[in-house]
Symmetry: C2
Subunit: 236 residues, 2 copies
DNA sequence: ACTCTCAACTTATTCGGACAAGTGGACGAG
DNA sequence: CTCGTCCACTTGTCCGAATAAGTTGAGAGT
């Protein structure tokens, strides 16, 4: 029952490990395909496949007639902090949950969920803390069809987090998230909860399943003085 | 002198075109590899390479033993509006430039540029407009070593934009941008220029060349009431 | 009706061979 | 010294063959 990865994947792993260990430094030229064939004992097509995939992923750069050159561990969008995903995945502490139950969907939430305004939906509101300082107000809205049978409308904390809970109870899978960010003043309620009336980073995110349906909307109020979102992107 | 793309790229193009035209709809099963070999008159390895690449790019999903299935045009991080890159690429209108010259680098800018505080740098400040409404204050900071010989420190508008100007005059290439976003109140100057004192989306971006050096820092003041940044990301 | 087997179909991987095309350096001729 | 040619090296593309492995449906047997 031994699982051996495909050879091309092993070649990729070998090269990635050498890049990360510093054996191959950014700017260095890799051994040629012919050398790798001999060293690793595989066919040339296998080596080429590994190298092409590494190039597509951004680890290396291949130049026709010259060789393959190390770029380094690629910058990845996945490296960016995604506040809405963090909210969905974070386990809840015993005193975090402020509100859990059914409410009529406000217009902007209904639109994102693809339901009619005032349709009953489940809402779950909680406070996030960092070092005992209240750092954010997080609100999650879930259509009834997805919330029925779960504990989302109950005030008991979900220790494993909302995403895991939905996966375990209803086999719901997250595929992609559409996130919108703006700057706004806090509502009166938010200012009271946060103990501050300075500008907020407002995050409104829609979580979609693989078929594109909206599973939930996550709304975050992040005090501008406590939060900064960082992103790195390539320019072609 | 006719340029024919490689066959695997032509196969990719054919399939992408059929997906975008709706001939292959999301969820549909593609013709099998063997059928594509016959239809397109190429070798199986060529078809496989095209399909594998489309799968890696997110256009299709391949299931062992079952077939290849259409997902659709992939959501791409490149689809997200990048305000700092837009600033660098946008041509300047005749009355946009507010300030152009040399100043000592403030501490937070010096740090991002990797120079000592108060080192002379070139600053270029301008107003962005949408439908004749002032929509943003944009400030660009460039180390002298990169600005010398350019027109960045002159008030005449750069019609082709800053990025193209630096590429043409100094052969500087953009590789990646680190972008930080927060929410803050405007400075007095910003409030006056923008005609509003509501919360701002503050964007601070560092543009890097392929070797990782900082080419410039772009600072944007975007009124929260006029701007919303949207992003779509995959969740695994 | 249900279950199991097999055949036809599908993708996954690997290999080797061949030709095309680009790079860089060495060597020889002018 | 300069320039052109050639050679050794490099990656780029394409093909066919083979084996492995997964899926599905039809047919036969219980």
């Amino acid at each position: 029952m031994d699982f051996a990865p495909p050879k091309y994947a092993q070649v990729m792993r070998t090269i990635q490990d050498r890049i990360e260990s510093g054996e191959y430094a950014p700017g260095d030229m890799l051994p040629s395909e012919t050398q790798l064939v001999r060293e690793l004992g595989v066919g040339r097509t296998t080596v080429v496949r590994a190298l092409q995939t590494l190039a597509m992923q951004g680890w290396i750069e291949r130049e026709h007639g010259r060789g393959s050159f190390v770029k380094g561990r690629p910058q990845s969008a996945a490296d960016r902090v995604r506040p809405s995903l963090t909210t969905a995945e974070h386990g809840e502490s015993p005193d975090a949950v402020l509100e859990a139950g059914r409410v009529p969907a406000p217009r902007h939430i209904a639109r994102l969920l693809g339901v009619a305004e005032k349709t009953p939906v489940v809402v779950r509101k909680r406070l996030a803390r960092q070092a005992d300082v209240i750092s954010a107000v997080e609100t999650v809205w879930v259509p009834l069809e997805h919330a029925l049978g779960t504990d989302l409308d109950k005030p008991e904390p979900l220790r494993r987090g909302i995403r895991q809970h939905l996966q375990a109870v209803k086999h719901l899978r997250f595929d992609h998230i559409t996130e919108r960010i703006n700057a706004r003043p806090p509502t009166e309620e938010e200012a009271e909860l946060l103990g501050s009336s300075g500008p907020l980073l407002g995050v409104l995110a829609t979580v979609h399943d693989p078929a594109g349906n909206a599973l939930m909307v996550i709304s975050l109020a992040l005090p501008g003085s406590l939060h900064e979102l960082e992103d790195v992107f390539k320019v072609s």
